[in-house]
Point group: C2
Chain length 152, copies 2
DNA sequence: TTCGGTGCAAACTTTTTGCAGAGTA
DNA sequence: TACTCTGCAAAAAGTTTGCACCGAA
């Protein structure tokens, strides 16, 4: 599935969500959603707001926050916190696979990975504790290749 | 290793750390550290502050924050954020084994687990991405046994 | 006596909320 | 028209900082 297919699919899903919940489509929302769907990785509300400001639209920061919360409820965005004090939002289209993150503590690079063996072990652990898992969070923190060679 | 052995060892390590870094031992610090070492699990500064207030000491919240940061630098506490907006501090004595957390989203119960298979797989993943891992974070979120039966 | 620690209040940071006016259906 | 959305500014909420005084070494 290509990235743009997923965008299209998500926009449809978003439109359907709006319709079903009596929410309106507005100029601001469409711009925010467009920008959000275009951004790679893990954006903060502030970053998104800045990008939109750059295109001389005058969208308020509060609106960006509100829209991201809306997307989260719609299941199109996922909230994540790496330990830097910001809430980040990640594109989370239907059909997009779950993945985890490996974060460089020096330059902030975030790479994504998938590992089914780990996921299966997590389920085993949950069973042992009699928990039913609905979500999880796995982040590896360290130093990336570039930063290692810079220091060496 | 029993819990109290670990306390003793940590207090020594703390004292050594203070000496080495020209920091002073004060009545407030000793009380905070004592209370922190006694608390199970994952405390917030506010919680610790409340516990100390209960024992009619008049320690300021800012001092609790400052002391926890000091403990973190000393390697005796570990900062953790579960997604509830609070920074939590966890006892992290030398000799204490690393563990991860499984969190109930209904009642807030946090259990700890260790799984070497998962840890090994994490190292494999990091190698594949040419990262050197220094830390990681794994949290499973779901519903615990009690809450499941309550709902059923 | 020196200098780090403390308490208090104010400042800061990120996110949320109240409200009056604008825009959608 | 009815009612939601938006922008702004103010409020929240958690944490940090400035400053004058206190106290450990």
């Amino acid at each position: 599935m290509s990235r743009s297919d997923t965008f299209a699919e998500s926009k449809n899903k978003y439109a359907r969500y709006l319709a079903k919940n009596g929410l309106r489509s507005t100029a601001q929302r469409d711009l925010i959603i467009n920008e959000f769907f275009k951004s790679e990785g893990h954006v903060t509300a502030e970053e998104l707001h800045l990008k939109l400001r750059g295109k001389n639209s005058s969208i308020g920061l509060a609106t960006v926050y509100r829209t991201l919360k809306t997307l989260e409820s719609a299941g199109l965005a996922h909230e994540r916190q790496f330990n830097d004090g910001f809430m980040r939002y990640e594109f989370c289209a239907p059909g997009y696979r779950h993945h985890d993150h490996i974060v460089c503590l020096e330059c902030g690079l975030v790479e994504e990975f998938e590992n089914n063996e780990i996921e299966n072990l997590q389920i085993k652990v949950a069973n042992k504790h009699n928990f039913t898992i609905t979500d999880h969070r796995l982040e590896l923190y360290g130093v990336c290749e570039r930063c290692k060679s810079k220091t060496a």
